[in-house]
Every structure is written in C-alpha cells, then in structure tokens.
C-alpha cells in the first residue's frame, strides 16, 4: 500500500483568499445537468455544494395521475441507463400486493435481462469514467459491445434504451427463438473485451496514478450516508441485496459479491469503486450462463397478465439491487386503478449526497474523477 495523496494542511496557517467556482450545469464531465458550487483554496477543494433540480421531471405528480401500467414508462426514464432494472422492483411490488404468481420462464427472462442491463450500465460507467480521465479508446470498445446487448433488448421489446418490457404479471412479449445462443454469444464477447479493457485502461499506469488514493470513502461514512451498490462495496462492505435479501431466483445461482480491497491504493478510493464495477460484469456473466441453462423455453409469458390492475388497499416497500445500488419503491394503493402515492428511493440521489464529504482536501482535477467514480444519473437524482 502506498501512502495517501491527501494533502494535509492547517487552514489557519495559509492566508489565501478562497475562490468560489461554478461547475456546470453544462460541464462535459458532470454526467448530465448537475451543478456544483466549489470553494477553492488555490487548487484545493475546501467545499462542494451540489445544486440539483435541473432535470426535475415531476415523477410523483405523474404517479398520481396515471394508472399502474402507465407509470412504468416514467420509471424507465428515471435511471435511463438501466431501465430494465428500474422496472423490476415496481412490478414486483404490485405483484405482491395483488398476489400474482409469476411463471418460471418470465422470472428467468427478467433476471437475464436485468443482468444484461447491469453489464450495459457498468460499461457506460467505466467508459465515461475513462473519458473523464482522458481515455477515449476504451469508450469506443465498450460502446461497441453495448450495441450487441441493446440489439437483444430491441428484439424483445422494440426499444433501444427505454423498454416498458416488464409488465405486471408478465412480459410485454416473448423472446425470440435463438435467444439463448445470442445471449451466450454476447457473454463471450463481453469477456473478451473486458480483458482488453483491463490492459488498456484499468491497469494502465497513467490511469492508476490518476485514481489511486483519490476520494477515499471509509466504510463507516458510507454507511452513515446510506450509500449502496458499487460505492459501498468499493469501501470493502459486502452489501448486495441479491445475497442479503434474495428476491426472484438469485438464491439459485452461484456468484460472488465483489468488494474493493485497496489493490493499488487505499480501500475505498476511486480505483476500488471502478474495479468493483468491472468485476461485477464478470459475475453477471456467470449468473446469465447459469440462468440460461435452467431457463425453460416453453410457456406463455402473457398468460398471467391481469385484465384489470386494481391492487387492494394497502402499502408496500419493494427494493432490488440496481446496478447503481438499492432502488426501492414505496407504493400506497387506495383500491382504485391509480396509485395513491409512489415514492422512490433514488440510488443516485443518496450516493451523490456523499460527494461533499469525500471531495474535501483534494485537488480540483480530482473532483471530476470522484464524481465520475460515484456514477450518478441525473434523471434519478432529480426524478
């Protein structure tokens, strides 16, 4: 373990004027329309204030006005990079409220699509993180692979980015005949590219210099702020809802929870958060392979679709492991076909809240890397 890069100094000893700098909302490295108000002492960040709300799209208002199935497209548009994963906890909650039993085939297809979407999400996360550090080539490689995954989604749902594919009680359409072979081909492709990415980007000396020992997030701070997903796993905590509160068929598969252990620096630095995403792609590949083996091809995915979606009076909280962390929906039903209220626990919103805490004392250029390593989506932060 090398020594930390954090610059220690006493504020009172230096008589310098603080400068307040505006970053965003159209900054190319804020991953959307986030605005940061940064206070600088020379080049050292002393305070960060995120300003959000530039993409507030009135999610809860829409939930009041729409019927249950009509809400699903709006959920797609929350975390638009991993839309399949987003829909899952919502439909799971309503199915639980209504007591619908899901056919085995549907559950397997959902699981495979969720894992494929997890790979696609991590590909974007690593690609844009590399882009922030100035590496353009891995971006091209990863986006090439992502197109193959999107083509599978497109064959099933008709959409490239936003799917509206998971319906309450089933799926919008059946998968095509060569589904299994196609998915396995993609898994093979992903593994091949990942080997290249490890050489090109992740274990590149320049990249390591840039990200090791930067933005250290200790495990206790991560817990205090309620972080989840790769952010908390990067700090060395094995918290994964797929293992800790297994939903669907996740208890049937053999896979590992990846945690960061300070490979090149300190536990919980930017490198760890990024490498967790990278290894998680391999674990998703393993899950997909096992699921493809067990999945039955016969059966109708639309047979359990209810004619009317009217959950009985009640409330429920469902959660699932999104690529970015724990995504939860609190659904209150009043017995009609429209929800009384839907509140969502946006993963990115909670993870973003830790940014001011961990970016203090680093250089300004490191702030961009720290923000990139948290992997936020502004659609989910603002909703």
């Amino acid at each position: 373990m090398s020594e930390t890069k954090r610059i220690e100094f006493e504020y009172s000893q230096i008589d310098s004027e603080r400068m307040r700098l505006n970053v965003g909302p159209q900054h190319p490295s804020t991953h959307g329309v986030l605005r940061l108000e940064v206070e600088l002492d020379g080049e050292i960040v002393t305070e960060v204030v995120p300003h959000i709300g530039y993409l507030h799209r009135c999610f809860e208002k829409h939930c009041e006005k729409m019927t249950y199935p009509q809400v699903i497209p709006y959920i797609d548009r929350m975390d638009y990079i991993s839309a399949m994963n987003n829909e899952w906890p919502y439909v799971m909650g309503i199915e639980k409220l209504m007591g619908i039993e899901i056919p085995e085939k549907v559950e397997y297809i959902r699981l495979i699509f969720a894992e494929l979407n997890r790979i696609a999400n991590h590909q974007i996360a690593i690609a844009t993180f590399g882009l922030d550090a100035g590496a353009f080539t891995p971006f091209l490689y990863l986006f090439r692979d992502r197109e193959f995954i999107l083509s599978i989604f497109e064959k099933a749902s008709g959409g490239r980015l936003l799917y509206n594919y998971f319906w309450v009680g089933g799926l919008a359409a059946d998968v095509h005949k060569e589904f299994k072979q196609d998915v396995l081909a993609i898994v093979k492709q992903v593994r091949e590219t990942n080997k290249e990415i490890a050489d090109l980007l992740l274990y590149n000396k320049i990249f390591i210099e840039r990200v090791a020992n930067v933005g250290i997030l200790p495990a206790d701070v991560a817990i205090n702020y309620g972080c989840s997903g790769p952010v908390v796993r990067g700090s060395g905590l094995a918290f994964d809802l797929r293992k800790d509160a297994p939903y669907s068929f996740y208890d049937r598969f053999d896979f590992d929870v990846i945690t960061g252990h300070g490979e090149v620096g300190t536990v919980g630095d930017c490198f760890d958060r990024n490498i967790v995403r990278f290894h998680e792609m391999e674990q998703s590949c393993r899950i997909i392979e096992q699921a493809i083996e067990q999945m039955p091809m016969e059966g109708d995915v639309r047979e359990k679709l209810p004619k009317k979606i009217r959950p009985p009076k009640g409330e429920i909280y469902t959660k699932a492991e999104n690529p970015k962390g724990e995504l939860g929906f609190y659904i209150v039903s009043n017995g009609t076909d429209k929800p009384e209220r839907i509140k969502s626990r946006g993963t990115s919103f909670v993870n973003l809240s830790v940014l001011p805490e961990i970016s203090k004392g680093y250089l300004f250029a490191d702030l961009i890397m720290i923000l990139g390593s948290i992997d936020i989506v502004l659609g989910e932060v603002d909703r």
Binding site: Q26, P28, G32, V33, L55, Y80, F143, R144, R160
Partner: protein
C-alpha cells in the same frame, strides 16, 4: 458534392471552378459543423451512442466542442426544465453566428411524455430558441439523428448570405400574395 468533378473541367488546363461564393461558403459550413458537447437527459445517452463506433458522428465533419463560443450548432438532447431553460438560452446566445439548433426527441420538440402533467417541464425548446431541425422519437434512434443531420446540411446549403434583406422581402411579398389569393 461533385466539386472535384468540376475541377476536371478543361478551362485553362483544369483546376478552375466557376461558381458563386455563396455556394462555396455554404459547402464549407455544412461539411464542418462543430457541435456543443452537451447532454440533458435520456436522449443524451443515444447521442453518446451516436458518437461511438457504431454510428460515428464524426464522419459528418462534426467535432465536439466544450465551449459554446467554438460551436456551430447545438443539439438539445432531452427534457428542458424551467430551471434549465434559462441556461440553454444563455448558451445559445453565447454561440457565434451562424448558429443552428437541432431539437432531439419529443421532450425538446413538445414536452413529450411530460406534456400533460409536467409542471416543471418546458413544452418545447422552440419557445425559447429558434429550432432548425426537429428529430422525433422517444428517444430517437441514432439513424434518425443521422437523418436530422443530413437535413441540417441541406438547409445550410440553401441558405442566403448576400442580399439577405432583399431576398427575404421578396419571399415575404410572394407569401403575402399566396395568402391574399
């Protein structure tokens, strides 16, 4: 463009073009449009895919610029909220003339899925800045955006540079005639 074919012309041994300055200026402008690298919402992800290897936006001569001062056109890729609208107007005003706007996706065309109940969503970016090309879709496929880019190039190729006022006045007269008849 057929420009190189013209160069084969046997005028004084070739290499001479006869044409309007306007055509050459427009030709240059339409083939090297630089855009402002700027994403708003879900459509920006499709826009990123457009930049990547499968669709390769750069073959249109488009290079991303991070400063509005260096950009020729801006792609409004996503939902424009009231809070953001102010910023977009400012960005547009900072761009140097000639400048063009592509509106990508139903959100920036008209409000899209947020048209009815979106109390914080601008119902179309053309309420604050003039739009040249509208690309429909939620999100539009990258192929659709390519088509939009081709349309923008066509539009630039036809634009008037000299005697603009005169020409516009004539066009207006003709329009009035059509309306009156």
């Amino acid at each position: 463009m057929g420009l190189l074919n013209k160069l084969d012309d046997p005028y004084y041994g070739g290499g001479i073009i006869l044409g309007k300055v306007e055509d050459i200026l427009n030709w240059g402008r339409s083939k090297s449009d630089w855009y402002l690298q700027f994403g708003l919402a879900c459509c920006a992800i499709e826009f990123m895919a457009m930049n990547a290897s499968h669709f390769d936006f750069m073959r249109f001569g488009c290079i991303p610029r991070t400063s509005p001062r260096q950009a020729d056109f801006i792609i409004i890729s996503g939902t424009v909220t009231f809070k953001m609208a102010e910023r977009i107007k400012k960005l547009y005003e900072q761009m140097a003339e000639p400048k063009y706007v592509i509106s990508m996706g139903s959100c920036s065309n008209s409000g899209g899925p947020y048209w009815e109940h979106g109390y914080h969503v601008l119902k179309g970016v053309d309420r604050i800045i003039p739009v040249d090309v509208y690309v429909p879709g939620c999100p539009p496929r990258p192929e659709a955006l390519e088509e939009g880019m081709i349309r923008l190039q066509e539009k630039i190729n036809q634009q008037a540079i000299f005697n603009k006022r005169k020409r516009i006045a004539e066009e207006d007269k003709q329009k009035e005639l059509i309306i009156n008849n």
